[in-house]
């Protein structure tokens, strides 16, 4: 027994004698010491943290071959194999890991809204609290640079591009009719409610090879992956009412929203310039079902909406008010799956299907349209290490449009267009360091209608010039099939083409963002026709062309004044194009040289309220006066809009929301409609295109009921 104890003592003493001291110094690539690095022998408790001067020292009883590791967040872990006795006075240099938060970002052309506050220019709540937007996703983005306010339209017009040049995607899948139907010269809104989306990316040019069929811009919406809790939402508004519910069970969740909008009570309070026979009415329902698998996530989004109105409006070509009646039905469904495969490949796949039916009566014309579209996509992504990402994919669009047009003589013209567009794309993000990144991509597509193959390269490059600022450059070519309105009469038309060149500078420091971007965009192969409006016997060619150049400035500050957030956008646009039936290359009527927005939000703690303010300015837009020989040579006066809003938290779960648009009654004129025929003296009469009403207001009450009864309406503010 004694012997054993002696043996154990000896063993202890022996182990004391066998202690080895491991020491060294840890530096970054600039030879500066790093403090707090965890240095240890793998598989043992032995280790230490580096101190201020980057040095470390610890003892070990291990002997022989060992692995020394040095790990620190935002650096790549260092490994050294060798005999412990050689681990002395080491000098170790740690390499930086590519870190999204502080590293360079490929930012040219892109604006993001979401919860990553570093790269987002808008927060999720901004969409709901921007005074001029009144809860419309597209409305909120119209306060960003690069857009032109076209007040009588409401859609996104980006950098001299027509509204049709912007495409909308939900979870990477195309939305074929993102805007709701409204009377002519009345601003439209997005069809889908902002609540189901967690993040939005708005690209004003130079976007990824993953997206095609958009000459100017893409707008990407992503649905929420996992709702945080079960809840019921009730909203009662001056325009209607809505109800929503979210259920969670196991790995599944389901959110549904339903809303009913009827403008009748509102219109009876505020009279407008229109003579309504039946005020705008819509019923819409949306649902998202999500299922989490072990290595993947499935989302099924479905939306149905039906709207109708019947209104009599002034039209210069008629002595009486003419009827404008629309019945619109839209079904949209989108199935998306994202999962991790073996070998670290990530798969993203899905399909969207859209059916839209329009019954339109305008004056003596009667138009029935049916549109059935689908989009299927498969994308595979892989990160080879933190420096190189590759994605490849293929997709298929199918567009089927049918129309019956009946004119005043009750003659019916039937037209049909079917267009199938398969595409393949590949792109790679290469991060040479945290300072330098490159994205190269290529996309190749075929359009069945005109049997046209085309390939577009995309490239973008970013370089970080300082701790908080960076430059990016982007170039790409973009194709889009001609509008169905032309294809239905002529299927020999080629795709229209645009090339983008962007130079972007951004400076971001805690809560403040400055961005400036210069761009040049060249259009070729734009469709032209030789009649007053596109008709079956018009001559169509791809001989149109144009350009757009200019710069944007954006400044956002969330920090300088407590409880105040504001942003300012300015865009300068110089653009001309010769397309449609234009006689020469001119500045089109949906563009303005100067666009300015100021958005402010101020939280008053004592009142539990947030006050919002928006001011928008658009310099005069061109219009054509047929009484002069010059084409598109006159300009409207500048457009101004002031909007206010206030969100008042009654309790944690109840919000009262007010908004006022144009309370000072500024008389805006959005353009002029000229008579198709001159009067007896040879003069073309005109009518000013004015908003339906100069002033508008909105009141809403929003109530969230959740299981624990303490959830917070602040979330929805």
């Amino acid at each position: 027994m004694k012997a054993i104890i002696t043996f154990l003592c000896c063993f202890n003493i022996f182990s004391l004698f066998s202690q080895t001291i491991i020491s060294g110094k840890i530096l970054n690539s600039k030879k500066q010491p790093i403090e707090g690095v965890n240095v240890f022998l793998e598989g043992t408790y032995d280790g230490a943290s580096t101190i201020t001067d980057g040095t470390f020292s610890f003892t070990t009883e291990e002997i022989g071959e060992q692995t020394l590791k040095a790990s620190f967040m935002s650096y790549q872990t260092y490994e050294l194999k060798g005999d412990v006795t050689t681990f002395k006075n080491l000098t170790i240099i740690l390499k930086e890991e590519i870190f999204e938060l502080t590293g360079v970002t490929l930012s040219a052309g892109t604006f993001k809204a979401g919860d990553n506050s570093k790269i987002s220019v808008l927060k999720p709540l901004d969409i709901l609290t921007t005074a001029s937007a009144v809860g419309d996703v597209f409305g909120a983005f119209q306060t960003l640079p690069g857009t032109t306010t076209v007040a009588e339209d409401g859609r996104l017009f980006v950098r001299g591009g027509d509204a049709e040049e912007t495409q909308v995607f939900i979870d990477g899948l195309r939305v074929f009719s993102p805007y709701s139907s409204r009377p002519n010269n009345t601003p439209t809104r997005g069809r889908y409610s902002a609540n189901l989306f967690k993040g939005t990316t708005f690209s004003t040019g130079g976007y990824s090879a993953e997206f095609g069929q958009a000459l100017s811009s893409v707008f990407l919406l992503n649905t929420i992956d996992k709702p945080s809790q079960e809840e019921t939402n009730i909203s009662i508004m001056t325009l209607g009412a809505g109800i929503g519910n979210t259920q969670l069970w196991g790995n599944n969740s389901l959110s549904v929203n339903m809303s009913y909008i009827n403008l009748k009570p509102y219109e009876s309070l505020i009279s407008d310039r229109y003579n309504w026979k039946k005020q705008y009415e819509s019923f819409s329902g949306e649902g998202v079902y999500r299922k989490q698998f072990k290595n993947g996530l499935l989302k099924l989004y479905t939306a149905i909406d039906a709207s109708n109105f019947d209104v009599y409006v002034d039209d210069i070509n008629y002595e009486y008010q003419v009827q404008n009646k629309i019945k619109n039905t839209n079904l949209y469904t989108n199935l998306f799956y994202k999962g991790v495969l073996q070998n670290d490949w990530v798969i993203e796949t899905g399909g969207s299907f859209s059916y839209t039916k329009n019954d339109i009566v305008y004056a003596v014309e009667n138009i029935d349209q049916d549109e059935l579209d689908f989009h299927a996509k498969l994308k595979l992504k892989r990160s080879f290490n933190s420096n190189i990402k590759l994605s490849v994919g293929l997709e298929y669009f199918s567009e089927n449009f049918g129309e019956d047009y009946q004119n005043e003589n009750s003659t019916i013209f039937t037209s049909k267009v079917e267009n199938n567009l398969p595409s393949v794309f590949a792109e790679s993000d290469i991060f040479f360091s945290n300072k330098l990144a490159l994205n190269v991509g290529v996309r190749s597509s075929y359009t069945s209608v005109n049997k046209d193959w085309f390939t577009s390269p995309r490239i973008s490059f970013a370089y970080k010039t300082g701790e908080n600022d960076q430059f990016s450059l982007a170039y790409g070519t973009f194709y889009q099939s001609p509008k169905t309105g032309y294809l239905k009469y002529n299927n020999n038309l080629k795709s229209e083409k645009a090339s983008h060149y962007l130079l972007n500078y951004q400076y971001i420091v805690n809560g403040k963002t400055f961005r400036a971007e210069a761009f040049y965009k060249k259009y070729v192969d734009l469709v032209k026709y030789n009649t007053q409006s596109p008709e079956y016997n018009s001559i169509y060619t791809n001989s149109g062309n144009g350009y757009a150049s200019g710069f944007d400035v954006f400044w956002r500050d969330n920090k300088s004044v407590d409880n105040l957030e504001y942003w300012v956008s300015y865009s300068f646009l110089n653009t001309k194009r010769n397309y449609k039936n234009y006689a020469e290359k001119v500045t089109p009527n949906f563009t303005a040289k100067h666009n300015f927005s100021l958005v402010g939000k101020y939280w008053v703690d004592a009142l539990k309220s947030q006050f919002g303010f928006t001011y928008s300015y658009t310099s005069g837009r061109p219009y054509d006066n047929p009484n002069t020989t010059d084409f598109m040579a006159e300009k409207t006066k500048a457009y101004h809009d002031v909007s206010f809003n206030c969100s008042y938290l009654l309790t944690q779960q109840k919000i009262l929301y007010f908004s006022l648009s144009n309370p000072f009654g500024i008389k805006n004129i959005n353009g002029y409609q000229y008579a198709n025929q001159p009067d007896q003296s040879g003069f073309y009469n005109r009518k000013a295109i004015k908003p339906a009403a100069d002033f508008s207001f909105f009141i809403g009450f929003f109530w969230t009921i959740s299981d624990d009864k303490k959830s917070n309406q602040l979330d929805n503010l």
């Binding site: 240890f40 043992t44 943290s49 709540l125 809790q229 944690q652 624990d708 917070n712 979330d715």
Partner: protein
């Protein structure tokens, strides 16, 4: 023969106690660093232990815990993100070892709370609902855990105060948590035992 067996047995016992004491020594050392306010050293030491003790959730728990608590004081987005990302990584590892552990749920809720308190406008919408949901789930799983009851009460007091509402109902929650702190027992060495002082402090502010 007997002697040999005894020797071997003693050696085995010795090596077991030796390795146990290595774990204990390490954990103790890390906790001491933490008490001295040496966050990085504490976190690094817990990490080293966590990398060896693959079946033990506690060192992983502590890596997450020290980083989350330290992140509450951090006003720099970059370093805050690094701390919370590390916390999340170890929290996930711990949850794989013990999937139904209320102590880990409390940490997860606190992890989200750091984001909400750092920038409510950006992260409130994402996390507020989820935090309440996590506490609800934790209370259903173990209504006798004092940290669950106390953290839930603190979260609710925070939002009630913000809305100028009566906090008395949640003070009752704190009182209940304080009772539970005196009766709560878990024999596992190094089992989390924080929260009582903070709960007392909050409770005294209730009066």
């Amino acid at each position: 023969m007997k002697k040999i067996i005894l020797t071997v047995l003693l050696l085995v016992v010795y090596s077991i106690t030796f390795s146990q004491s290595n774990y204990e020594k390490g954990m103790q050392k890390a906790l001491n660093f933490w008490k001295e306010g040496k966050v990085t050293e504490a976190s690094n030491t817990f990490e080293r232990i966590a990398n060896i003790e693959n079946d033990n959730w506690l060192p992983n728990y502590y890596v997450a815990y020290v980083n989350i608590i330290a992140a509450f004081q951090d006003k720099n987005l970059e370093t805050l993100t690094l701390k919370l990302d590390k916390a999340e990584k170890y929290l996930e590892k711990a949850q794989k070892i013990t999937p139904n552990n209320v102590e880990l749920l409390v940490l997860k809720a606190l992890h989200h709370t750091v984001w909400v308190s750092f920038d409510g406008a950006t992260y409130g919408r994402k996390y507020s609902g989820e935090i309440s949901q996590i506490y609800q789930q934790a209370k259903e799983m173990d209504p006798t855990n004092p940290r669950v009851i106390y953290s839930d009460a603190e979260w609710k007091i925070g939002s009630a105060k913000y809305f100028g509402k009566d906090i008395t109902p949640y003070c009752k929650g704190l009182a209940h948590a304080l009772e539970l702190f005196t009766t709560f027992k878990n024999e596992t060495p190094f089992y989390p035992n924080w929260g009582k002082n903070r709960a007392e402090e909050l409770y005294n502010n209730c009066k």
